[in-house]
């Protein structure tokens, strides 16, 4: 039996949400086989990464803590991706935002007051926005491809981090280690559930996703983003300005990435160190796609990708899986998602089967050649 693809008349709504599930399942199966073929305990690895953290309630807080920055960044990126604005620079915006917050922290190290943490968050958000506004400006004013410019700035942000850690911002009491002083209590993100790792960033990330859901689905601004992404000419026809949407996408993406960076620095890290960037900005791209660019889908997808971080760590010790394996699983997830996406627009049928056809009651000139116009 040979299966062939046949176009659907309308995109399948069910498949939109089934595709990510298919992608996750395919990743588990193929990942297990692949790693077995590479000489690792493939099924053990899948078990350790994707199953064990779910069974162990002690790891749930880890999951939430890792999912929070992923949710924040991906929520922002999704706005851009919907508008065909390809901000690949979230990692840099995350680092730059965190550095801005760290700057505030270093200035206020000896001060006290409840205003300090909010000031850091504001600095972090503005820092992320400022860094994101470079590719936004270059695209809007000079037509520079934002994929390349935003990506290049990731490398630059990391170098800036290294420079500040090695020189100006190094803790003088730190025995020469390239890292800042520990943040004070007023600069540390409070825990929302005492005795756990769950910090304020977790509910804030959820709130951000919910807010974005409302903005995208119900407001004119969100509608503009969707129309610009789906059909730029129709956006012009509707009186929406593409440049405004590009700016909006970058500022929201950069702002949320900067906020995530601030939360990480003032929460789990408690200081700034050269190993601060752990690739959340890139993983968030996968989260955004796996979550179908939908804020609520992103929350779920962030939990799945958080699994790869949490489970990946334990798989290193339990089954001796190299840290790099996590990246392979993440990439496979995205590959399978992109591949299974075709089922949204096409259905699988047996070769030679009659297409479902109705008599040509209504002339169908635009559909006579399905898919060819795309």
């Amino acid at each position: 039996m040979v299966l062939v693809l046949q176009p659907r008349r309308e995109p399948s709504k069910a498949m939109v949400w089934a595709a990510p599930v298919i992608a996750v399942l395919a990743t588990l199966v193929v990942g297990a086989l692949l790693f077995t073929a590479l000489g690792y305990d493939g099924f053990g690895a899948v078990n350790a990464i994707f199953i064990q953290p779910l069974l162990n309630s002690n790891r749930w807080q880890d999951l939430l803590v890792k999912a929070a920055p992923l949710t924040l960044i991906a929520t922002g990126l999704a706005v851009g991706f919907r508008a065909n604005v390809w901000n690949i620079g979230a990692e840099g915006q995350y680092v730059f935002g965190a550095l801005a917050a760290t700057g505030v922290a270093l200035v206020t190290l000896d001060m006290q007051g409840l205003w300090i943490l909010p000031a850091m968050v504001v600095a972090g958000v503005i820092g992320g926005m400022a860094y994101a506004s470079v590719p936004a400006f270059l695209r809007v004013r000079l037509g520079v491809n934002e994929i390349l410019s935003s990506l290049m700035l990731n490398y630059v942000a990391v170098q800036l981090l290294f420079y500040l850690m090695r020189g100006p911002w190094r803790d003088p009491m730190g025995f020469g280690f390239p890292q800042t002083a520990m943040f004070s209590l007023d600069q540390t993100l409070p825990r929302v559930i005492p005795g756990t790792l769950i910090h304020l960033g977790v509910p804030v990330a959820l709130a951000a996703a919910l807010t974005m859901w409302f903005l995208m689905a119900r407001t004119l601004a969100g509608f503009q983003v969707r129309v610009v992404g789906a059909a730029p000419n129709a956006a012009r026809f509707a009186g929406f300005r593409e440049t405004r949407v590009v700016w909006m996408a970058f500022l929201i993406g950069g702002g949320l990435a900067g906020m995530a960076g601030t939360f990480e620095a003032s929460g789990p890290f408690g200081q700034m160190v050269p190993t601060f960037p752990v690739g959340y900005g890139f993983t968030a791209i996968i989260v955004a796609f796996l979550g179908r660019l939908h804020p609520l889908g992103i929350v779920a997808a962030a939990l799945v990708l958080a699994l790869t971080y949490v489970g990946g760590e334990s798989a290193q010790t339990t089954v001796g899986l190299p840290a790099a394996a996590v990246g392979v699983f993440q990439a496979m997830l995205l590959f399978f998602l992109l591949g299974s996406d075709i089922l949204v627009r096409y259905r699988l049928v047996r070769k030679g089967a009659q297409p479902k056809a109705a008599p040509a009651a209504a002339p169908a000139s635009t559909r006579a050649v399905p898919g060819a116009a795309e």
């Binding site: 037509g143 390349l148 170098q159 996590v326 990246g327 993440q330 060819a372």
Partner: protein, 308 residues
Amino acid sequence: MTPELAVSILMAVVATSTPLLLAALGELVVEKAGVLNLGVEGMMLIGAVTAFIVASATGVPSLGVLAAAGAAALSSMVFGYLTLTLTANQVATGLALTIFGTGVSALLGASFVGITTGTLGLVFPAGLASDPILRVLFGHSPLVYFSLLMTLAVWWFLKKSRAGLILRAVGESDSSAHSIGYRVIGVRYLAVLFGGAMAGIAGSYYSLVLTPMWAERLTAGRGWIAIALVVFAAWRPGRLLLGAYLFGAVITFELQAKAAGWSFLAPEVLTSLPYLATILVLALISSRRASARLAAPACLGKPFRASA
């Protein structure tokens, strides 16, 4: 500046330019066929690690180069299948390929970090190397000459050959090419395959010639610079050569300045230079936006699916 220093700088420029040129030539052909493959960085890493592993295992570096081309071409087929057959978004799939290549190369290369292997030898006897002029002319890795040859070959292919005409036609208007009867998807597969092989060879240059060793993320974003070079070159092989050597010069400056220990520029600033230069160059080139739009293949990045 002593002649000795001048020669060594010149040699370094050629050395650092070559992988950029190789990868960018591949991407240029891919884009001329109307496909945007952002996975160059990932394919380069796959090539780099494969080359290193095969060279260490067999002791024959040239086999490593071939294996690199093959492995990276294979990975490009994942991209090809998803974007060409399943019409997935090319930007997202290219990113996925880069993430995949980064992960897979780190995984495969984990046990090879820090060791050395035989490097790709020179084509000309070492005796010639004592004369500075002969050294500048003949003292490079064989891949340097290969890259120059390929520049000429790609130029001839696109400008003069019938196959090149068809490839450009497919990138210019996939629907027209299809209605005349060309196999759009087939042509694009071949282009993607070529781009993959070239990226793989470029990667092997890092692990067998330039560095030469294996380390995670060895290529440090050079794949992205190669993609930017294609835009800079307005899809012309001649200008690509120029652009690659320009960037080779920037990278050489970075390395020389670090080696000389210049204190007025922090090493982090120097490391950032190629990335900042890329942005600067893209900004400058786009000031002539109309001509850039004319040069870009009209169907670049758009999915195509032939009607049943």
